[in-house]
């Protein structure tokens, strides 16, 4: 032992002596902690489900959230979607909320200033710069008319009608921006749940007397929509011609992936009580549905589960995208690993995710390397839809703790939510979930919404000294957000890959920059970027512990 390491050891001991007990236990545990900084950050949001006793189906479903850099200052801002009171039961005026990052750990509510104080029954959010002007635009889905808000440089204008998205009433859920035809313009996918409106509400009851929330079987499905970006600020509905049209689906979650690794983005849609759909991009503007043959449509028992949220990610380091789909309680999370011939295997049980999720109803889910060890972990927001579920199923509660499955890098996960921080595993009626590095310390913080209650912002504090390397991509020939780009890094004989994704999770969107955990490494050997345009760039010997901005064709 030299003098330096001895002094470091002493310093460590001294530090340990003054550590709060929570920090000490966390330090001995997963190597990080998630600190609830919601109030400290100035986020005072309360979701309004509009519930008045009518038990309208949408009340129990919302809502979503997003990390976005709406003012393009390099700091992640926060958007929280809100519902509203139902007509005839008006009590208050509620709108979505946009919180600007003050760059000091706090946020300011800029909703009104940004022009977003629009009352609507919002459900989900998708963020994407559809007009490539450098300012991220927002699509808010909801019950009724979805709204497209064009960002004019810190201020949003409602471009719904102008873009050709008006005149559509539906119960829309998740949405995402992606460039399916690789023309450099972001197209839009919007999921619809069921054909529901207050006028067509069905009476469902558990006891035959009192109304309760209906299951989706009570309603007819509705097709998802695919809108092609014409490049002139308007969209063309290509739902029927693209092969997406499907009136049997009851869609809640949507994620993009390149499951056949041909460089063209495919689409995965999680359906509630209906088979999940995997739309393979046929590179000609159309999709072929391959959910059944790819093994992702049903559970291993051949049952169509109640798919809620969905995310994709290279969680096993194979380079192929894995999939996580949250389901109803008693159905377990579906964790799919790519097998041979592009067929997915549900490895939830063997990977340690199945059994712990048997009694939870999952909604939002994200693959994120929370402890920066180089393996994608899985975070899940849980919460039931029925307040009285405890009376029926004693071991299942309405509010449920979120789960944080740490990936050991060998294909096994274990839930460390209870060790991740004092309040993280407190039961909630979780719905939306997104990640983003709002404090720019290199690790991924979490944003979670709850139904008819508060939102939560969890700051991730690394305790084990793990580092990361982050990339923010700017497309030139590709869409400006570089959505669909795949970044791979190589270090120490292993590789990791991330896709710049829109959508994923449930009704939510995470930040667009990609983050790689590298453990204690201070450099990586090289990184490659596969742009949506088809261009590939490579960068060697990059230092970790920092974020790189990569402009397509111009390097770092």
């Amino acid at each position: 032992m030299n003098r330096r390491s001895f002094l470091q050891g002493l310093g460590g001991l001294a530090g340990a002596a003054v550590l709060p007990s929570e920090l000490w236990s966390a330090a001995a545990g997963p190597g990080f902690r998630l600190v609830d900084v919601t109030a400290r950050a100035g986020i005072h949001f309360l979701h309004n489900s509009g519930a008045f006793g009518g038990k309208f189906l949408p009340e129990t479903m919302g809502s979503g959230c997003a990390f976005l850099d709406y003012d393009s200052d390099g700091w992640q801002d926060i958007l929280l979607v809100n519902g509203m009171d139902w007509p005839g039961h008006k009590r208050e005026h509620t709108t979505l909320r946009l919180y600007r990052n003050n760059r000091d750990g706090t946020f300011s509510d800029v909703t009104r200033r940004a022009g977003l104080d629009v009352e609507m029954y919002g459900m989900g959010v998708a963020v994407g710069d559809y007009n490539n002007d450098g300012h991220p635009d927002i699509l808010i889905t909801g019950v009724g008319q979805n709204r497209l808000f064009k960002n004019t440089g810190g201020k949003f204008v409602d471009a719904t009608q102008a873009a050709g998205l008006g005149g559509r009433e539906a119960f829309s859920t998740s949405a995402l921006w992606f460039d399916y035809d690789r023309d450099g313009l972001l197209d839009l996918v919007v999921c619809n749940y069921v054909k529901w409106s207050p006028a067509h509400d069905v009476f469902c009851s558990l006891d035959g007397k009192h109304k309760s929330y209906c299951t989706p079987e009570a309603y007819r499905g509705e097709t998802c929509w695919l809108f092609h970006n014409r490049g002139n600020g308007t969209f063309e509905d290509v739902t029927p011609s693209s092969g997406i049209f499907d009136t049997s689906s009851k869609s809640l979650g949507v994620a993009m992936l390149d499951f056949d690794q041909d460089g063209w983005p495919d689409l995965l849609i999680a359906n509630d009580t209906q088979p999940n759909k995997l739309y393979r991009n046929q590179r000609n503007g159309t999709f072929k549905e391959v959910g059944v043959e790819s093994g992702i449509a049903f559970s291993a028992e051949g049952k169509a589960r109640a798919g809620m949220g969905v995310d994709t990610g290279d969680f096993d380091g194979s380079g192929a995208p894995g999939v996580a789909i949250t389901n109803f309680d008693n159905e377990m999370i579906g964790l799919f690993r790519m097998g041979s011939k592009h067929i997915y295997d549900d490895v939830a049980m063997s990977a340690g995710v199945g059994a712990p999720s048997r009694n939870t109803l999952g909604f939002g889910c994200v693959f994120a390397d929370i402890n920066l060890d180089g393996a994608l972990d899985l975070v899940v927001a849980n919460g039931h839809i029925d307040e009285t579920v405890r009376n029926i199923r004693g071991n299942v509660g309405y509010a449920q703790p979120p789960q944080l499955f740490l990936n050991d890098g060998k294909g096994h996960f274990h839930d460390v939510a209870a060790q991740a921080g004092i309040s993280f595993d407190r039961p909630k009626v979780g719905r939306g979930l997104a990640y983003g590095d709002f404090d720019r310390d290199g690790d991924l913080d979490l944003l979670m919404t709850t139904n008819n209650s508060s939102a939560f912002l969890y700051r991730n504090d690394q305790l084990a000294g793990n580092r990361s390397i982050r990339f923010r991509l700017v497309g030139k020939k590709s869409n400006r957000d570089a959505i669909g780009a795949i970044v791979r890094i190589y270090a120490g004989g292993s590789s990791q890959s991330r896709m710049v994704k829109g959508g994923s999770s449930y009704l939510s969107q995470s930040e667009l920059p990609v983050t790689f955990g590298v453990g204690k490494r201070d450099r990586i050997e090289h990184a490659t970027i596969q742009w949506p345009s088809g261009r590939t760039e490579e960068f060697k010997n990059l230092a970790t512990g920092r974020a790189y901005e990569c402009v397509e064709g111009r390097g770092i």
Partner: protein, 472 residues
């Protein structure tokens, strides 16, 4: 000389005794061999093994039949039903899609549904193909033709509908759906439902057949177990009967041997008594007469003459021979036993043994003496004789203890030494020990050999008093 004579007599007697004994034993062995249960048991074993093999074969046959039934009928029928359900699901999806098309509440033309129909069609085709491979229930050619035709007609109608829709004739296309497509979809659905019912019936029949096989096997198991039980009972009875016969033969043999030994001993005692008497009476008288005549002749010979000296020497030899004859006579059969009884004979004998062998004998007598019959006394005496012989010849001990105890109900004789003791390894018993046992048996007495704490041997003979007093 005396020993040589005695052993000569015994060996002759023994040889005479052994001949008929060997003969008897040989006869006994031959008889038991003729009635040995081995053959019966082997036969039983063969029958049992044959039954087990036959039963195993039967069970294997039944299980194979069961497996075939389950694999080829029940499982296949189940898989077929799953495919039929898949077809029903697809037909239902088509029905829902047609309903949506007719509702006209989508902002899309009817052609929008073509991809959805195409998806269902590819799944339906696959399901029909698989179903046909798995179909268990015998389909008539008419049924097959009907199903194929109905499906083709349905897709033809679908094609016509979408052609109309593509030509912009939405109303006509909807009419086509309402009039033709929905009816054909319903007919297909009904046909598939019938197939499902047929499959269900087939599954029920299979289940019934499986149940019958189980019942049959159960019955056979009971029969087999009963047969095995009967075989076990019969074998057991046969073994018991054989054992009883063997034990009876053994008992007879033992009785015969005992009787023979008794006769042998009686004969031996009678012979010895005869010889002893002959020696004492005949040779003793002769020698006494010879001695008297020599004494008379000696008186006629001049004093100091060589004749007188010779006569004196011959007279001394005669006297000595007379004593030897008397001594031998006593040894063969102590006349004292008949005349003075067991107690005196024992005392005399112990003194004689001490003198002859140099073994120091401590003699103890206890209890109230009662008369011991001469025959019984001989056997007790012979046991004592043999026990002391063993002490002198084999134990290596220089001291022995003899205890004669007259108990109220029994006479007990103990001979103890602290010498080498009897071997523990079950070595073959000498003829002396066999003789002791036979004599004890003749007296209905118990004879025990034990090891005293100090080492050596303790021989204990215990004769019931009744046997002592009245032994024939």
């Amino acid at each position: 000389m005396r020993r040589q004579l005695a052993s000569l007599v015994f060996s002759r007697l023994a040889s005479n005794w052994q001949k008929p004994g060997r003969l008897t034993y040989a006869r006994g062995v031959q008889r038991s061999s003729a009635q040995s249960p081995t053959l019966g048991l082997i036969l039983g074993l063969v029958i049992t093994l044959a039954a087990v093999v036959a039963y195993s074969w039967y069970i294997t046959l039944q299980i194979r039949g069961l497996r075939e039934l389950q694999n080829n009928l029940a499982d296949r029928s189940r898989k077929d039903s799953l495919q039929l359900l898949r077809i029903q699901d697809d037909l239902n999806s088509l029905g829902l899609a047609m309903r949506d098309m007719l509702d006209n509440d989508e902002p899309y033309p009817l052609t929008a549904w073509s991809a959805q129909f195409q998806r269902v069609r590819s799944d339906l085709d696959d399901a029909f193909r698989r179903e046909e491979e798995l179909a268990v229930a015998h389909r008539t050619p008419e049924q097959r033709e009907y199903l194929g035709k109905s499906l083709n007609q349905f897709w033809d109608a679908v094609g016509r509908t979408f052609t109309l829709a593509q030509a912009g004739k939405q109303a006509e296309a909807r009419e086509q759906i309402r009039v033709t497509l929905q009816a054909r979809q319903a007919a297909l659905s009904t046909a598939v439902a019938r197939l499902l019912v047929a499959n269900n019936e087939s599954e029920q029949q299979a289940a019934q057949r499986v149940g019958e096989i189980y019942d049959r096997v159960q019955r056979q198991v009971y029969i087999f177990l009963s047969a095995i039980l009967i075989a076990i009972v019969l074998t057991s009875l046969y073994v018991i009967r054989s054992n009883r016969r063997l034990f009876a033969q053994l008992a007879t043999l033992s009785e015969q041997r005992s009787e023979l030994a008794q006769k042998l001993i009686s004969m031996q005692e009678s012979t010895l008594r005869e010889i002893s008497r002959e020696l004492h009476d005949e040779f003793g008288q002769i020698l006494t007469a010879v001695g008297a005549m020599l004494e008379r002749a000696k008186k006629h010979a001049p004093e100091g003459s060589p004749l007188r000296t010779d006569l004196r020497e011959v007279s001394e030899v005669a006297q000595s021979t007379l004593e030897s004859v008397r001594s031998l006579s006593q040894a063969l059969h102590p006349v004292m036993l008949d005349e003075a009884g067991l107690e005196s004979t024992v005392e005399w004998y112990l003194r004689t043994v001490e003198k002859q062998t140099g073994v120091d004998i401590c003699y103890e007598k206890s209890g109230t003496p009662f008369p011991v019959d001469g025959s019984a006394g001989v056997h007790v005496y012979r046991v004592l004789q043999e026990a002391l012989n063993n002490v002198a010849r084999h134990s290596g001990a220089r001291q022995a203890w003899v205890r004669l105890c007259f108990e109220p109900e029994a006479l007990q004789l103990e001979v103890e030494d602290h010498g080498k003791g009897l071997p523990n390894n079950g070595a073959r018993q000498g003829i002396g020990l066999v003789g002791m046992r036979e004599r004890a048996e003749l007296l209905s007495a118990t004879l025990q050999f034990s090891h005293p704490l100090e080492g050596g041997t303790l021989v204990r003979l215990r004769v019931p008093r009744a046997k002592c007093e009245s032994h024939a």
